[in-house]
Amino acid sequence: MSRVLSIAREESRLWLRSRLALVTLVIFAVLLAAVSIATSLRMSEEYHHRSEQQALAEETFLSQPDRHPHRMVHYGHYVFRTPPPLAMIDPGVDAVTGQSIFLEGHKQNSAVFADARAGAELGGFQGLTAALVYQLFVPLLLIAIGHGVFIREREENTLAPLLAQGVTGNELYAGKWIALAGVTLALLLPLAIVSAAAVVRGEALLASFGVISLYALYLFVWCGLILLVSALVRSRALSLGILALFWLASALIVPRIAVESASSAMPAPGKIETDLRMQADLREVGDGHFPGAPQFQQLRANLLIQYDVERVEDLPVNFRGVVSEVAEADLTEVMNRYAEERMALEARQARFAENFGWLSPVAAVSAGSRALSGTDLAAHHRFLREAEEVRIDYVQGLNRVHVEQLDYTDDINRSLNEEANRRTRMSAENWNVLNEFSFQPAAAGERLTQAGAPLGMLSAWLLLLTAGGIRAARRMQP
């Protein structure tokens, strides 16, 4: 063991004494620190901004004056997806999916962007996140300092003396691995600090530890690859070329192919086409604004029988309110069916693309990072479902007020009679049907389960590369 540590110590001393390696390390350390701080500040600001917007939206809704409940259904409300604490590391889909939804009756609106302020402030550099730096740039640093780790021993004629001292291939490999892993762990320090800050902000320790472990595993995969290539080839230029090519394929080409393949293998129908199909289905349900529509005749008949009356005016409930309530439920069922179909397709595409992690460690780590940070597609889908729950709850809550508290005769005469119109204005206290909304990430255990496949892929990469590296190191000859 002391030999292994001596080799590791010597390798580290070489890097520390090499100006190029040292300068590169310092540059990356500064870059990592700067990007980590910038991402943390940005996401922290986003969190507070969206939380404030959410509170303001709720306050605005609740402060509406007395009015007809259906006007409140159309007045609508906003919900905001606040970024989870670990978004400070990986904002994930935050930048490409909307972060707020306008909720209103009879419609499921798409998520939209809260604003474009952050992007404008950062001059478009908001895309450079800590996650991206760790996924794409830190491997380049490891390649730069490690590509010649074994080759140098050959080129400088020190491999023979090393092996002649009785050092085995295993010991040499372990020593070099520890040295490179030591650099990796040092580079993970900013990530660990931001993860700790996320815990302070309420993130589960398990999730934060999971993110650090995921990135450690990922960077160890690169260490394994670098050592393997360095042990196999005989020139630094070739080693650098192979590793750069692998980086290019893994970081840029395979993830792109993954997305394109997922889209080709499971094509999504166009939005216009889907919207037209859904509108046709919704028309069959009927428009709740028109209680006389054929779709509601059966409902009318059933109610008259149920309450044993001749006319809707004699019902103990507001027929228009009942129609609104039933129509909303039916519309929602149709809209949910389409939404679930779309989300299921997107989830299948995401899983398909995730499998490219077997070909690219970058694809694996990015999927795992988003899952553990609570910023993946599944989290966005959860936001959409939770937003829909808020929508249907408050809309149906208002419809219930319409059904139970608003007189039908006043309701139908409100355009003709000012007094009737006044009586249809329900007390603003009824607007309390709106539930407070606060989007929270999934439980840490659930996120860890979602990240299971990427973690498995990276573990397999590490095992294979380490086994290959040890085998190559054992066979190394001067």
């Binding site: 080799i7 010597e10 001393r13 004494r17 001292q165």
Partner: protein, 240 residues
């Protein structure tokens, strides 16, 4: 008596070419044995085979009576090896290099012993703390020789040990080699320097194109092997 080093009908192939052909010799304890030959004669290949870096195509090599094949660890433990054009680590000083390599070999050596070894190869004291990347080829060679001599091993394999050394340093090396041999250590050195080999070796085997073509012993009572005879044989076989 068991030979410290022995090659028996040794043949070795490298890149499909047979570079050693049916070579046999043995070396006893305290002997300085030189393998002399031109470029590509198979001298360094012989050393690498004793170290187990190359495997015999046929025949065998033995260290302290044990076949290297199957006893590689023990063989390497018994051998201190000076490779050709050893550079050691340029980012380390002479002291740091010696300390590092000796610690890998499990040899604990104090500063005094290091200085003693460096004195014997005549490395200037003020250079010993400087990084070796600033050294000349000869200075590096001196540190490598010091390293080999400091290893507490019964056998030294030296590949072109005097390459890059000035005449004074070569004399220092010859004295050191003699002292080590007198202390019971066995030395196998390879060189193409006829004059140097004749002055330091007890026996010279002349190797040409992987074949042993001649052997010369130091006559009893003489301080060197007959240089002219060796030179003539060397020239004859090089011309052939």
């Amino acid at each position: 008596m068991i030979s410290m080093l022995a090659a028996q009908s040794l043949s070795v192939r490298r890149s499909g070419q047979e570079v050693l052909k049916d070579v046999s010799f043995s070396i006893e304890q305290g002997e300085i044995h030189a393998l002399l030959g031109g470029n590509g004669a198979g001298k360094s290949t012989t050393l690498l085979t004793f170290l187990g870096f190359l495997k015999p195509a046929s025949g065998s090599v033995h260290v302290q009576g044990r076949d290297v094949n199957g006893n590689l660890g023990a063989a390497r433990q018994a051998i201190a090896y000076l490779p050709e054009a050893a550079t050691l680590y340029g980012h380390l000083s002479a002291y740091e290099n010696l300390h590092y390599f000796l610690s890998l070999a499990g040899t604990e050596t104090g500063r005094e012993a290091l200085d003693d070894a460096l004195d014997r190869v005549a490395l200037q004291p003020d250079a010993r703390n400087m990084r070796m990347e600033t050294y000349s080829k000869g200075m590096r060679q001196k540190v490598a020789i010091a390293l080999a001599s400091l290893r507490d091993t019964p056998i030294l394999l030296l590949d072109e040990p005097t390459s890059g050394l000035d005449p004074v340093a070569i004399d220092e090396f010859n004295r050191l080699a003699r002292d080590l041999a007198e202390a019971g250590r066995t030395i196998l050195l390879v060189t193409h320097d006829v004059y140097g080999a004749c002055h330091v070796a007890d026996r010279i085997d002349l190797l040409q194109n992987g074949v042993l073509v001649g052997a010369f012993d130091r006559p009893e009572g003489m301080d060197r092997i007959d240089t002219e005879a060796v030179h003539a044989a060397f020239a004859q076989h090089a011309g052939a």
